[in-house]
Symmetry: C2
Subunit: 337 residues, 2 copies
């Protein structure tokens, strides 16, 4: 059973993945895995993954068989385990608990050569739909305090499988980074009676220089204090704390902007690896009034080094105004169908 441990100084949790238990010699083969041309996420290889927990099958095909548009399965090497209780306990001055939670893989397409960037918008909408359904479902487990959806694209961004996929991790604690955002947004709301993200959107629309694209329901921008070159945030224009409360009607605008942002990044920085993270409010925090869900995309262009680890400070060599200009002028190419 993996173990959750809390740093006694700053309160940061880590997952100590005891079962993976990597030895020194195992750290130097971090290649993308497609063994002998075989990919476990491709259509036809459904028996090579754990059973699906969600799928979109427009032809009514049975679970774990071919014929799907999108599948969500448990991660074969999960960072957390679904079974068991938390068993929160101390060890002297330390705190720990069992690594209970969920770790799922969203297989975004049956085609090995497609990526989220090349998928047509109606298929990107299905990916967002899968996120919404899984977040809703995982939030029903009373042990779950937070559900994170994220994507690692490319080996340098931490992907270990080539086939286009994103991941979902349900955690038994609200992670530090999320608490910080919640606390910051709450403090701003308390002082101003306004959502800080709504204020940011208003100011950016007036200022224009950091906007990448907007449509009726959503906006893509380069944040004022971008940590990374070409960092891109996508936010719904109307205030909304919980991603999984988003109505299907809004997904088309969101999917269109997400797709465009990925295409703009790919056309500006060809084939660059990236991470994206869906920031949504924790289900038990009553964050309705002050939080605002959004997607953060970070192209993996710079190395995070001693300075960043030592300070939590970032050095960004590309001003967001310049990044926004490049991305705005890039044409989102490819199939917009």
């Amino acid at each position: 059973m993996p173990e959750l441990r809390k740093d006694p100084i700053i309160g940061r949790w880590v997952i100590i993945s005891t079962e993976r238990g990597r030895r020194p010699s195992e750290f130097f083969s971090d290649e993308i895995e497609v063994k002998d041309g075989f990919c476990p996420l491709c259509e036809g290889n459904e028996d090579k993954t754990p059973p699906e927990v969600f799928a979109i099958r427009e032809n009514g095909s049975p679970p774990d068989s071919p014929g799907w548009t999108l599948r969500v399965v448990s991660n074969k090497f999960p960072a957390l385990r679904v079974e068991g209780n938390l068993n929160r306990q101390g060890e002297g001055l330390y705190d720990k608990m069992n690594g209970v939670g969920a770790h799922e893989v969203v297989i975004e397409t049956p085609e090995h050569d497609e990526t989220l960037t090349t998928l047509p918008i109606h298929k990107v909408m299905k990916v967002l739909t899968a996120y919404r359904e899984r977040i809703s479902d995982l939030n029903r487990d009373p042990r779950v305090r937070y559900v994170l959806v994220f994507k690692n694209q490319g080996a340098a961004a931490g992907a270990s499988l080539e086939h286009s996929h994103s991941q979902i991790i349900a955690l038994p604690v609200v992670p530090k980074r999320v608490s910080e955002e919640i606390d910051g947004a709450k403090a701003y709301y308390k002082y101003k009676d306004r959502c800080v993200f709504c204020d940011i959107i208003r100011q950016e629309i007036g200022h224009k220089a950091r906007i990448i694209e907007e449509n009726t329901a959503a906006i893509a921008l380069a944040p004022f204090a971008s940590r990374f070159p070409f960092e891109t945030w996508i936010l719904p224009k109307d205030h909304s704390a919980y991603f999984h409360h988003t109505e299907a009607a809004q997904f088309e605008d969101m999917a269109s902007l997400l797709s465009d942002a990925l295409r703009r990044i790919d056309s500006t920085l060809p084939s660059s690896p990236y991470n994206f993270m869906l920031h949504t409010a924790p289900s038990n925090k009553n964050a309705e009034e002050f939080y605002h869900w959004h997607i953060e995309i970070i192209p993996k262009l710079t190395k995070v080094a001693g300075f960043e680890w030592g300070t939590g400070f970032y050095i960004n060599p590309t001003p967001p105004e310049e990044a926004a200009k490049y991305l705005r002028e890039a044409r989102p190419q490819g199939n917009r169908g």
Copy 2:
């Protein structure tokens, strides 16, 4: 002039390095720089670096000439500028200030083929001495709120020059990661009237499983909530908040343990890149009673990806007890002179 910008939600500062202003095409050549076999940090090339701000010259040779054991020079491409005032100001709901501070390079040895790992202990002591002198000096500038010493070893850890060096950045704000540690240690002290780091050392000495090595003045251990495989912390056993108040007599034990830790890591994980960061108290925080300086070494073995960026949570595949066992059993090889 680089600009410091504050994230309006979580209060994280970033340095927007406007002068470097990297364009999209400039991100794909992140190789270690030794152009045509020429290294600006080697002995004899003193005129290829900015003038030295500190040096150890046992033969009394003049500044910026050969004959040194160690040199500290300004970074040729500094993230922050020494000249100018901070000019703190708002921009709508955002906060920013000029990127004033210092960015220096500690050239640890005149020999291109030496590394901090291969240097004899008496030379590692000189490196610690240089850190102490520069921290003391930079803290005299009233604009400086924090001085960070760190090292990136190897291209994957963010080094851009091959010649063994560490870096010093003096910042006009206390960075978030440091504030968190200060606040956490202060809260613990308020509740228990004891230093949390002293308590950790006591518990670890009793428990033994995470200790890598100890001597009279210092201890090396794998922290309970290690973020990374083979993460190693070195702490003075006696309570001490400020690194630059350490007496020269204690440096021998510290240098010996730092050297051994690097050799143990190198023998367990040959030639692995790493970062280390010196965590010391900010000069203006009266942290004497509750903070405890230490060095954090993190071998660069795993990729930080979407999950970590989204949560501030880490997945560590090697339990610190196992890491400590490997490192304890590794022989620190090489010249111990």
